[in-house]
């Protein structure tokens, strides 16, 4: 459990960090950003990754915290899971994120691991990407050429790959407010502390017994998080009843491409997606 030797830098501004990345790149160094270290350090200790330089974002000012920005919230990339799970603004306006963050690992990991780190790491079984996708957030990325934004729909590109390019830093995530919506994150695991086998993030707006709008995200049903668009379409305008929800949830596996592993084969995951979607939506509408 000893990583290879590496150089270490702890910049205090985003600009300084970007400069370090650029310089390392120019020198041909393999450089990695360090956020909470909860994904990076294990792979370094297993020597599955051996960067020659690590740039620690831990001392960069202004990257952590949740702020109210009109019709959206700004969540700093370095905001720990624990804060996302307990922050009053998030609880009020996007409770789905708090519900998902609370299912990540254990208290120790939640105090160290960060919102941005989890999103850039983009593990298909990770619990933050699908909810964030379901919220239609935008990602704020700083790079050598300045700041750019990427929509959630374009952010997750594949297994452990996102729109954040080498030399860039994810600084914040802008999440629209869903004040008054019902939400639920339904995570299925074999033991309490486990990555999702499958999980479903649901946000619904109910108006007078009808589901006016639904946003459903799927965890671990493909190499990237997915929107269950067929379910969303089937729910929208339909009755907020158990039968209607179950019928809509039957579309959950459409367009998915889940992996097979020790926790279940693709057929099982496809089935789980339907059951968990039903449960997530039922809970979101309060049934």
């Amino acid at each position: 459990m000893i990583p290879s030797a590496f150089d270490y830098a702890a910049p205090s501004t985003v600009e300084e960090a970007l400069g370090l990345l650029a310089a390392a790149d120019a020198a041909g160094d393999d450089v990695k950003l360090l956020a909470g270290g909860q994904s990076l350090l294990p792979v370094m200790k297993l020597r599955l990754a051996d960067p020659s330089m690590v740039v620690d974002l831990g001392r960069v000012a202004g990257l952590s915290g949740v702020t109210d920005d009109g019709d959206s919230l700004l969540i700093g990339a370095m905001t720990p899971h624990h804060v996302v799970a307990t922050d009053p603004l998030i609880a009020r306006h996007v409770p789905l994120l708090a519900q998902a963050a609370a299912t990540v690992a254990d208290p120790q990991v939640r105090h160290r691991g960060t919102f941005g780190g989890a999103l850039v790491h983009a593990d298909p079984a990770g619990d933050l990407p699908a909810p964030v996708l379901a919220t239609g957030a935008t990602f704020m990325i700083a790079g050598p050429g300045g700041q750019r934004t990427v929509d959630a729909a374009d952010f997750f590109e594949g297994y452990f790959t996102t729109a954040v390019a080498e030399g860039e830093i994810l600084t914040a995530i802008r999440v629209p407010k869903y004040t008054g919506w019902g939400s639920h994150y339904e995570k299925f695991t074999r033991v309490a502390q486990q990555w999702s086998i499958v999980a479903v993030a649901a946000q619904v707006r109910v108006e007078g017994g009808t589901i006016a709008e639904a946003r459903i995200g799927l965890t671990n049903m493909a190499s990237t998080p997915l929107r269950a668009t067929a379910v969303e379409a089937a729910l929208a305008g339909g009755a907020a009843t158990a039968d209607a929800i179950a019928a809509a949830a039957a579309h959950a596996a459409e367009g998915t491409d889940p992996a097979s592993d020790l926790n279940g084969d693709a057929a099982y995951r496809a089935h789980l997606a339907q059951v968990l979607t039903k449960r997530a939506v039922l809970a979101a509408v309060g049934l």
Partner: protein, 790 residues
């Protein structure tokens, strides 16, 4: 034996204070001047020829002092020991600590780096260039039995040995074939015991100091005494030149009942460099290369009459040795051979076991060692019989078990069970469980077609504990005896030191032995110090495994304490000018019968130390030794009941209620017993639902970290309702039985029987362990497509 002030008292563990305040001393905490660090180069292939090893780059890496390959140590490393040749013609491959020509499992050591720091050693691992020529691998046990692919090129067959017990031949019962031929009901099943990993909390670690005339080894081991002897034999060092110390050891579960390649390699490295050397494995190495457990295919035939009376059982076993035979690998299935008949009195039994090599990590003892496998098989079969006959599973068991008035009872496997009361334990469990109430709830859910079905899992068990009568071990060709040694020393202050040969690694011996001695000698609990785990302090011993510590080691402690009393009586008589026959001993005082004249053990201790006024010819020393060899095993038993919820939509299995009533005889410390039961239940439940060491077809361990090897933690386990009945054993003076393995043995079948009871009416006949949600769901789907008929 009646409860006294100490025996039966729920004392907190003495050993916990230093552990929970971080003043522990585990092997990895050892730092010696000039100490070097080891890192292993391990084979990524499950079966390959080593064609070349280039160590030049590693040797010139900063901080590296030596790189040793198998070729470098071939002449001195010997072959790792197997102490249990179960048959005279048992076959085993040579097993060097470092592979020389061929590797037979992924993770086998091919070279070792010795460096000034652990980091330097680890860095150099990548610089060793090993050329392999891959060979075909055989991973599946049933396929290995066909010999189509050989696990070792040097062996002609994968079969190590075949061992048979037949009650008709042994004269302990009748012929199974007759029973099967005349069966009114015949149940045939094949059950699978998946591979498990002991997953102790402290990874294995070894420090060897070669300076001085003697080699001193600190190791995270369960067996310092056996290790010392085996190191001496393996490496050709005089036993007197080896000292083994097991300091604080963080769990073992059988996984540290081994003489490991890494221990031998650390000695070799220390010998080559002349410096103290340390090796501590990573968790991944521990999971990959520490020995595994279970891994059997059980082909079973049970014959019975229509009224539920079992008439015979035939067991045909394939046991996965993995790639090598470890210390007792070959004997593990044999430990189960005597337990398939469990608490039942059927008259005919045959056990045939084939020990087979595969290209996997070798297997060996894991909590229960053979006995959980046996109990699982018979308890699953009893449920199958109950289902076949439409009987209640408890009624089938009651019909067949030995009634309490029938003890002592000689079983069809030839053991003599001294005592037991299965009726009492079962009645208490049924009561605590609300058996009838839960059956009613089960019916309600079935009738309502509830998505969450309820199953009731039943398991009874007994096991042979207190390993072991030396003669019995001899008759099974085991390489050693089963006695245990103790010494009780009386210090001048009257304080007591107890030296025990059973080396604890988490059990709480220090507390229990203090209670035993405080009780026997009438001294305060706090005044007793228990010493163990260092072959220079406790010279004689056979260590800790097989629920043997109290029933064997504890009896040696009591016997030694009794000898102290006898010696002290002589001094007491002398000091009080009375006849020895008139001296009575109670509660720490020696009294002259019928008088108020008395003296304490403390006063006698001081007088003996001063030796100014002792009887002529009396050696001024009260210290006493005792070695206890049991005449029989002890046979704890119990009834476990589990209410299992199966979510038929997801296949998820939950435990609604778990009740166990264990009869472990007289209890010295109920808190320690409760701890053993809880931990045991967790491990047994883990086999039923969570854990499995899985390999891919190429021979790579897929569950190589705790991300994939799922050890349950507190949130995954239910609140246990534990009860006890107390039927004292007659095989030892205390009436104690063993408790170390009880929970592990009975819980696995209780859970799986419960899972099947929940879904059998939906057409499911069997689910392989671990019963993962995906397996349960697939079983339900398969049952649907076959219409529930198979």
């Amino acid at each position: 034996m009646t409860a006294t002030a100490e025996i039966g008292k729920a004392r907190l563990r003495k050993e916990d204070r230093h552990l929970v305040t971080g003043r522990s001393r585990f092997t990895d905490n050892m730092v010696l001047p000039g100490m070097l660090h080891l890192a292993m180069v391990r084979s990524p292939y499950a079966h390959a020829k080593i064609t070349a090893i280039d160590t030049a780059a590693a040797k010139s890496s900063p901080g590296v002092m030596a790189v040793l390959t198998g070729a470098d140590v071939a002449g001195e490393q010997g072959s790792l020991p197997n102490a249990w040749p179960i048959t005279p013609d048992q076959k085993a491959p040579a097993h060097g600590a470092i592979a020389v020509e061929e590797v037979a499992f992924a993770g086998e050591v091919v070279a070792v780096i010795v460096a000034r720091s652990a980091a330097a050693a680890r860095d150099a691992v990548e610089l060793v260039d090993v050329s392999y020529e891959e060979l075909p691998v055989v991973m599946d046990l049933e396929e290995a039995f066909t010999d189509k692919v050989l696990a070792h090129t040097a062996l002609e067959s994968n079969l190590s040995a075949t061992w048979v017990f037949d009650s008709a031949e042994a004269g302990t019962g009748s012929s199974v074939q007759d029973a099967i031929d005349n069966a009114e009901v015949l149940i045939e099943r094949t059950l699978y015991q998946q591979r498990l990993i002991p997953a102790f909390m402290e990874p294995r670690s070894t420090v060897v100091d070669p300076t001085g005339e003697q080699i001193t080894m600190w190791s995270a081991t369960q067996i310092p005494h056996i290790l010392r002897l085996m190191l001496a034999l393996t490496l050709g060092i005089p036993e007197s030149k080896v000292r083994v110390i097991a300091p604080d050891v963080g769990g073992g579960f059988g996984g540290k009942l081994q003489v490991t390649p890494e221990e031998v390699i650390t000695v070799l490295a220390a010998r080559h460099t002349g410096k103290p050397c340390k090796y501590t494995e990573t968790r991944s190495e521990s999971l990959q290369a520490g020995h595994h457990g279970r891994a059997q295919v059980q082909r079973l035939k049970l014959s019975a009459r229509k009224d539920g009376t079992v008439t015979g059982l035939s067991v045909n076993l394939l046991a996965d040795m993995g790639a090598y035979l470890g210390l007792v690998t070959s004997g593990i299935p044999i430990l189960g051979a005597f337990m398939y008949n469990s608490i039942y009195k059927f008259p005919a039994y045959r056990f045939e076991c084939h020990n087979i090599f595969t290209n996997k990590t070798w297997t060996d003892a894991y909590r229960g060692a053979g006995r959980p496998e046996a109990t699982f098989a018979i308890e699953r079969m009893m449920d199958e019989l109950a289902t076949e006959l439409g009987m209640d599973p408890l009624a089938v068991r009651e019909k067949n078990w030995i009634r309490h008035e029938e003890f002592p009872f000689t079983t069809v496997a030839g053991l003599e069970y001294d005592t037991g009361n299965y009726e009492a334990a079962t009645a208490k469990a049924v009561d605590l469980f609300d058996y009838q109430g839960l059956r009613a709830e089960q019916k309600r859910r079935r009738d309502a077609n509830d998505p969450v079905q309820l199953g009731i899992g039943v398991s009874t068990f007994t096991e042979m504990c207190g390993l072991a009568p030396s003669r019995v071990l001899g008759s099974l060709s085991y390489g050693a005896g089963g006695w245990e040694h103790a010494q009780v020393r009386v210090l001048p202050t009257g304080n007591i030191e107890v030296v025990t040969g059973s080396s604890a690694h988490g059990q709480g011996h220090e507390t229990a032995w203090s209670q035993l001695v405080a009780d026997r000698l009438g001294v305060p609990f706090e005044n007793v110090e228990v010493l163990h785990g260092d072959t220079q302090i406790s010279q004689r011993g056979l260590d800790t495994y097989g629920s043997r510590s109290l029933t064997v080691g504890g009896m040696a402690v009591l016997a030694a304490a009794d000898k102290v009393i006898e010696k002290a009586k002589v001094v007491a008589a002398h000091l009080m000018e009375a006849s020895e026959a008139d001296i009575e001993f109670a509660a720490g005082s020696f009294t002259v019968k019928g008088t108020d004249q008395s003296t304490t053990l403390g006063e006698i201790a001081l007088a003996t130390f001063a030796a100014h006024n002792l009887p002529d010819g009396f050696e001024p020393n009260l210290d006493s030794d005792a070695t206890f060899d049991p005449v029989n095993f002890s046979y704890p038993h119990g009834t476990h009941l589990a209410a299992i919820e199966v979510d038929t939509e997801t296949g998820h299995v939950g435990i609604l209620k778990y009740v166990c009533v264990d009869d472990v005889g007289v209890v010295v410390n109920p808190l320690l017993v409760e701890g053993q039961v809880h931990g045991g239940l967790a491990q047994g439940i883990a086999q039923a639902l969570y854990e499995e060491a899985a390999y891919d077809d190429a021979g790579t361990l897929v569950t190589g970290s705790f991300v994939d090897y799922l050890v349950p933690s507190a949130p995954d386990l239910p609140h246990y309702i534990t009860g006890r009945t107390e039927t004292p054993a007659t095989s030892n003076q205390l009436g104690a039985k063993g408790v170390g393995e009880a929970g592990t043995i009975a819980s696995t079948p209780a859970i799986v029987n419960g899972v099947l009871d929940a879904v059998r009416h939906l057409g499911v006949r069997d689910i392989k362990m671990p019963c993962t949600p995906s397996r349960v769901w697939h079983a339900l789907q398969d049952a649907k497509t076959t219409g529930g008929v198979q």
